[in-house]
């Protein structure tokens, strides 16, 4: 059954205004001049991908949009600190991740940890009946408790080390390792549980 996912949208090609992808310097220059058209163009270029980043950390779409709004305001107010050493998208992504972590800390979502036994009950809930693909894997990841999901995102997707994650979240490095292990274990168990019937059917 094809399930509707409103969070995935086609990329937009016609909303970049007068700036093309290679013209970052002109775009940044105009943004620093506080030109609304340039700011809108920058937002249009990166909003959908950055919304994806925020959504991976957020509990729901509204939180993700709050993070996105806060993150882009930071981007525009700190754009003068961008040194053109790395890609603009990478710089914005780091700001979004930091904003998301701050948002979760501020709303105490990270403190709401969850026992593995309780998390196990989640797997008994809505299980996709099709083979798992990347999108479904993200949905499963989104069902993880906030702490597990955050560490999994930071380590597996963003590539931070456990030491850096510990500093970012204000937790011990060992805690980050254990959280990641539990998240991976939980995710793997859900995935194995869903794949088993299919594998048996194939045999």
């Amino acid at each position: 059954m094809q399930r509707f996912n409103p969070y995935i949208c086609p990329k937009r090609d016609n909303l970049l205004g007068n700036y093309d992808h290679e013209d970052d310097k002109a775009l940044i220059r105009d943004c620093l001049r506080n030109q609304a058209a340039a700011q809108k163009a920058l937002y249009e270029r990166f909003s959908s991908s950055m919304m994806g980043v925020c959504y991976r950390y957020a509990r729901n779409r509204a939180d993700a949009e709050d993070m996105l709004q806060e993150g882009f305001i930071r981007v525009f107010t700190h754009l003068s600190q961008y040194r053109s050493e790395g890609s603009l998208e990478g710089w914005i992504r780091r700001i979004m991740v930091t904003t998301a972590i701050n948002f979760l800390n501020r709303n105490k979502h990270l403190q709401q940890q969850m026992e593995i036994e309780q998390a196990g009950a989640i797997a008994a809930g809505g299980q996709p009946d099709d083979a798992l693909h990347g999108r479904e894997l993200l949905e499963l990841m989104h069902r993880l408790p906030t702490g597990y999901r955050t560490v999994l995102n930071l380590y597996a997707v963003e590539g931070y080390s456990h030491k850096e994650i510990g500093q970012m979240l204000g937790i011990a490095e060992s805690t980050s390792r254990s959280q990641y292990a539990r998240a991976r274990e939980l995710l793997a168990s859900w995935r194995k549980g869903q794949l088993t019937p299919r594998q048996q059917g194939d045999k």
């Binding site: 959908s48 729901n60 993700a64 709401q112 809505g126 999108r135």
Partner: protein, 432 residues
């Protein structure tokens, strides 16, 4: 070994999926960013428009207050007297005074324009005879007094054109009595009214199709409350239905007559607009999670799947204070039962609205992110049947319509909401 390969495969898939994850944010995100990046411009637009409207209304009020009422020109009155006397012959000639030469060139021009062919003596600085100037003007003023000796209601906000002269008064006494009234716009009298307007209505909506959303659990779920990623309203049901609810308005107004039939009113009113909305699905940007604070609250966590399927009625109420400015036209004699029609607009300020959205930041339902527009504008159209109770009081009853000019939501392009109300307005009026 197999587990390690499996884990690395899991992480690779996660990374690939994360890289390809593109989500379209709603319009409110950019609206919020833009509002914070350019706050002055937005504030200027709204507050500038409000200040300009207020200044315009004040200027209109001052202009109308200072503008003199239409009075017969002294020269015209004199010519009328002259013609009357000419028509009556010799007896009339004795009683009627001679036409008084106008004192100024302007009056002479007016005089000539009114009675073509009548010889108008050129204006002279000197008085042709020894009669004092006041005495010369007396016939004119007595004519004015005679014309206004019958009390005449002018305008709906009403006043009387001066006191009726006592019987047997001499022309001089009548002129003296009428003198202050002639120099002051006498029918510009104030009226006061208290009104109550129960009403009911719907709203004019323009909205994008509601989005069936996948629901992420707000908190760790339990086996009895499993998360559902497929809970969405049936496609044919997505949208809103409306039911009317009781609305009301109460206020006081003061009126000023502008002419024999026209008037304007202003004052202050308190009004509550209410309606019920049956919602299938949810608007983009609404937070769906959170504890149940009210039994019928919109899309509480545990009720989400069922609510999305069967729809949820929620009550929307907006309590606003408004300063209206109305212009009206009266049909008929104010002494008797008559009809009036008035139209106008007002600036309203939102005092309270029903909580609409759950905010995880404050852990309560509220109108999040300044979603509801605080300053708005209302258009009014009223028709009333006025029944006088005495010389100064009257009651009125009639249908009224109001329409909200700007959408209730700001920075929220997905939904435009313009409530309108149709009701009955009852009022008690007192004329000074």
């Amino acid at each position: 070994m197999d587990d390690e390969r499996y884990d690395s495969e899991l992480e690779r898939q996660l990374r690939e999926a994360a890289e390809g994850l593109h989500i379209e944010p709603s319009e409110r995100v950019w609206a919020g960013i833009s509002a914070q990046l350019h706050p002055r411009r937005r504030k200027f637009l709204w507050w500038g428009a409000a200040a300009a409207t207020l200044a315009l209304l004040l200027a209109l009020g001052v202009y109308l207050q200072r503008r003199p009422a239409r009075q017969p020109v002294a020269g015209q009155q004199a010519v009328q007297e002259h013609r009357h006397a000419s028509a009556q012959g010799g007896a009339g000639k004795k009683a009627a005074p001679q036409a008084i030469p106008p004192a100024t060139p302007d009056e002479a021009t007016a005089h000539a324009a009114v009675v073509p062919g009548v010889a108008v003596p050129p204006p002279t600085a000197e008085v042709p005879d020894e009669q004092p100037a006041v005495n010369r003007a007396l016939p004119v003023l007595s004519g004015l007094a005679a014309q206004t000796s019958t009390p005449t209601w002018i305008g709906d906000g009403p006043g009387i054109l001066g006191p009726e002269p006592a019987g047997g008064q001499s022309p001089e006494a009548s002129a003296t009595a009428a003198l202050p009234a002639a120099s002051v716009p006498r029918h510009r009298k104030l009226s006061f009214s208290v009104f109550f307007s129960p009403s009911s209505g719907y709203r004019v909506m323009k909205e994008t199709p509601l989005t069936p959303v996948s629901l992420a659990p707000a908190a760790p779920s339990s086996p009895s409350n499993p998360p559902s990623l497929t809970a969405a309203p049936p496609a044919e049901k997505a949208g809103t239905r409306q039911r009317p609810d009781f609305s009301w308005a109460i206020g006081i107004r003061t009126g000023l007559s502008l002419g024999s039939h026209t008037y304007f009113q202003t004052g202050i009113s308190l009004q509550q607009t209410a309606y019920r909305v049956l919602t299938y699905g949810t608007y983009p940007g609404y937070t769906l999670s959170g504890p149940v604070r009210r039994p019928n609250m919109f899309l509480a966590t545990r009720a989400i799947p069922a609510a999305l399927q069967r729809g949820v009625y929620r009550k929307n109420r907006y309590l606003q204070a408004e300063i209206p400015v109305m212009a009206g036209w009266r049909f008929g004699d104010l002494h008797r039962t008559h009809l009036s029609v008035a139209a106008g607009a007002g600036i309203s300020y939102l005092l309270h609205s029903d909580p609409l959205i759950y905010s995880p930041k404050s852990d309560r339902y509220l109108t999040d992110k300044g979603l509801i527009r605080p300053v708005n504008s209302l258009l009014h159209l009223e028709t009333a049947l006025h029944i006088p109770l005495g010389s100064r009081t009257a009651v009125s009853l009639g249908p009224s319509v109001s329409y909200q000019l700007l959408s209730s939501y700001r920075n929220f392009d997905e939904v435009k909401e313009h409530p309108y109300q149709i009701g009955i307005t009852a009022g008690i009026h007192w004329r000074r």
